[in-house]
Amino acid sequence: MKIRKSSLFINTSLIGLGVVALTYVSGTVLRDSALNSPLNPFGIKGSPYGEVFAMAMQGPIDREFHGAMNQGGAHHHQNGENCDKCPDTVRKEPRPGSKNFRTYLASLQQGTEERTNPKAASEAHRLYLRRKTEDKLRFAYELDPSHYANYTSLHFFLTEPQLGTRPELTPSAAKLAEETIEYCMRQNYDPRPALTAAAAASNILELMFNDHSWNETPKFTIAQMKQYLGVLDFCINRYVELAREWDNNGNWELLSPMRIKECDERFHFIGKFRESAVGTISRLEGELQVAN
């Protein structure tokens, strides 16, 4: 009985002490902004591992994106071809024991993803699918915000009109672009994020041009366009500068030829966009002067 009483006393004292300690500090600890770090299990988002996972997520993203666009249909197109030409739609019957095991696995995957429901997805279901897709795209983007393809996929998804037919510079797309530019400009040891930042600046510009073409009273001024053209130039210059640095220290050799080609293509595309953006801005400026 004596042991039981002393044990009860120890337990009560321990709980009492713990509660007092927690009451004393929990307010300060929970409110201490210095202790708050972003919610990021194992620090994976934005890390060197996150960058690899972001690349690996390209396949699933492609499927998810088209899944949502096809209202639940899971097959994905290749190179924008329509369904008839798309090789994925040509049904491959499962052939157990086939020598071509890869084809067999592909047919199994197709079988599990095929939509057999004859009824179209309901409004609510479509909304759910879109939301799920957006979550996935955002997750891939957060893993590596400087990844060109992940950023552009999320941007196109956010600007893709749900009710109308015209892509708009929505606040969420603008915020995404601004955040991407800010993040990429902090990466000053790799030229590729500068290309992603340039893509973000060009996306903003493109949507500003759309606004001018379709709205009678445009929301964006020429000065704002010129400001983003300046950002675009800055990003392009940063890319050129860092690419030269990589030429000198031989870092390009660490990349596969395919990835280098990808960079060249993107740089070429952004260069072309810049040329046409300069032309568009001067045309719009001229139109405004005539109107005034």
């Binding site: 009560t12 709980i15 300690a21 201490d32 770090s37 620090g43 060197p48 591992y49 870092n251």
Partner: protein
């Protein structure tokens, strides 16, 4: 300390600790090879830090808690607890010796991780380097302060409810404290709810002990006042969990 030596020897004999030692020693140097650090050599050190601490957390959460659960369960199931009770070893003392045996394996793993960060990823700048040493020491201390009581809780719960229940509930509590509270906070920011708010406040915020991102972003060492607050906070949790573990711990399965 006979039970301590016995538990220590049986954990050592099972050899699973070697996997943890391998993970903690080798992964920080091997994993960066599959990260984007292969393309950007400047990222090798951040990748190493992340691999080192992630490996330690995973080892402690999976192997550490499972081993504690196994030992707690076998002590009550095999009749060993009852035997030691007859030799005059009280239940609390048994729990302490089992806990100490598991902790003897976990503590060196944490020290090795801290050491790897010091030798394999220390910044070159002298000011940053001194902060690096302080931050790593703080991290090791906070990690041990968090995982220590959880090991005892795992052993105690398993001695009463069985190994699977003890391990799963403690692992769940750890994951909830590390990441769940963060998600709950995000939910509360979107929509306030007094009940959820109280649950959030009363939850164990183990996330404060995860300083990986501070190391990764070189945010610098924790301020003395913040660190002191954290130590008191985790000591408070330790006291409550110690009492809970004492209450739950059984030296034999109830008939």
């Amino acid at each position: 300390m006979r039970l301590y030596r016995l538990t220590l020897a049986s954990i050592f004999q099972r050899k699973a600790w070697a996997i943890c030692a391998f993970a903690v020693l080798v992964l920080p140097f091997a994993l960066p090879a599959i990260s984007s650090a292969t393309e950007k050599p400047i990222l090798v050190q951040p990748a190493r830090i992340q691999a080192a601490w992630s490996a330690l957390w995973v080892c402690a959460m999976v192997w550490g808690l499972l081993t504690a659960a196994k030992e707690g369960e076998s002590n009550s199931k095999s009749g060993l607890g009852e035997y030691f009770l007859t030799t005059g070893l009280s239940a609390t003392r048994q729990l302490f010796e089992i806990w100490l045996a598991v902790f003897t394996f976990i503590a060196p793993l944490a020290l090795i991780t801290g050491f790897i960060c010091l030798i394999g990823a220390a910044p070159g700048d002298p000011l940053e380097r001194s902060m690096w040493i302080v931050l790593n020491t703080q991290y090791v201390l906070l990690f041990l302060l968090v995982i220590g009581p959880l090991l005892a809780l795992s052993a105690a719960l398993s001695s009463r409810f069985g190994g699977i229940a003890g391990f799963a509930s403690t692992l769940g509590l750890t994951i909830y404290g590390l990441y769940g509270v963060g998600y709950l906070e995000q939910m509360l920011k979107l929509e306030a709810n007094p009940i959820l708010q109280s649950i959030w406040t009363l939850s164990p915020h183990y996330r404060f002990a995860d300083l990986t991102q501070r190391l990764y972003f070189k945010t610098g060492a924790l301020e003395a006042t913040s660190f002191q607050g954290l130590i008191i906070y985790f000591l408070g949790i330790l006291a409550i969990q110690a009492a809970f573990s004492r209450i739950c711990f059984r030296t034999r399965i109830a008939a």
